[in-house]
Subunit: 227 residues, 2 copies
């Protein structure tokens, strides 16, 4: 089973690594990280890098496609016709096409989510409407062969859900046990709809700081009143 | 605040990326990935790579040290005097020294956990005894300045717990909201003590397959009846 994770400069690491850490444990899974051009990819923080073994020109098929999100550089991806075309073509070959966080905006921008429900990180979720998708607040949303996940860490839950479809309950539970995913966060503040006002304000500051690391894109998004 | 994540061939990606994704959002946090020699580091799956910007010779201080785990190559680390010495030295400069998964075995092997309680992934946890630490089954364990976490995904919970000590409740909650950490796994099978027998057996197979990717270490561990 060929699992393709599309990576790009500015991506959020956990968006990619969460699903990878689940899906790679499927029997005979081959996971490849693919970027527009192969080589070093720098995450949103600028502190850390992934390595794409393949460029998109070398990859023409995937059983599962995973598109991680980013704080702001997803805007660059949706304006890159080469990437948009590649996602559309790969999508024609997949059994499941998935996204995490603002990865759903990239996916929606190809047009394939038109008329379908989808989710995203709580901040950019309404951008889905720009591409004809119907925003739905949920941990993950399945529509046809598309599964979109909420922000960052939601990719782990989405991947376990997908895993269950692919290899069934016992093996999925075994993967969950392998990665000891028995979450016990000190606070319960990961849900936007129940988060305190002050917490949301602080989270917005974190997002803005992140976005400012890409000054040009930040100006662009400010001008369009998206931030 | 200087946060040093020690990485090495065979590490489990999520062990490193979970804490990174939390701690990097602390104000003025500088996160660096450090390996014995700087350059490309290959994860346990062999599918994915991180990039260490620094070699251990270049890093002499850390406010926070994070040691991620691995399926089997932690055994190589504990037999590497250069790495053991470096961890001991860095540890003398830290405010908090932390580990995820079998990273606690590496930490314990330096001797610093002698007489202290610590946790680890459910599989290697009893190896802590070989180095005078007291195994404790828990999501994470704090003793003096040491916080050890259970397997893989537990690093996220550990990092949020540490974050609360460093920047307080509101900012920690904001980081949790930023990464939308509102876990909702399809199954509740991430806890060894409540997992079904068949699930444990399947998880053991996953671990053995992972260990077999390092044939020499696998033979070594088999001979010592550790697997």
């Amino acid at each position: 089973m060929k699992i393709v994770i599309y990576i790009y400069d500015g991506l959020t690491m956990l968006d990619a690594i969460g699903p990878y850490e689940v899906l790679r444990n499927i029997d005979l899974a081959e996971v490849i990280f693919v970027a527009e051009k192969k080589g070093k990819i720098t995450a949103d923080s600028k502190f850390v890098h992934l390595f794409a073994e393949y460029g998109i020109d070398e990859v023409t098929q995937a059983d599962i496609l995973v598109i991680p999100g980013s704080a702001i550089t997803f805007l660059k991806e949706i304006n890159n016709p080469k990437v948009m075309d590649w996602i559309k073509k790969i999508n024609q070959t997949t059994t499941w096409t998935t996204s995490v966080c603002s990865g759903s905006i990239i996916l929606a921008a190809t047009g394939v989510l038109e008329g379908l429900e989808a989710t995203s990180h709580w901040k950019p979720i309404n951008l889905l409407k720009n591409f004809g998708a119907i925003p739905k607040v949920a941990r993950y949303v399945e529509q046809d062969k598309y599964i979109t996940a909420a922000g960052v860490s939601a990719g782990i839950d989405m991947a376990l859900y997908l895993c269950n479809k692919l290899v069934g309950e016992t093996k999925t539970k075994a993967i969950q046990l392998f990665i000891e995913y028995d979450p016990a966060p000190i606070f319960k503040s990961g849900n936007f709809s129940t988060a305190e006002k002050e917490v949301i304000e602080n989270a917005e500051v974190l997002l803005i700081n992140e976005a400012k690391k890409e000054p040009e894109l930040f100006e662009q998004i400010k001008l369009s009143n998206r931030i």
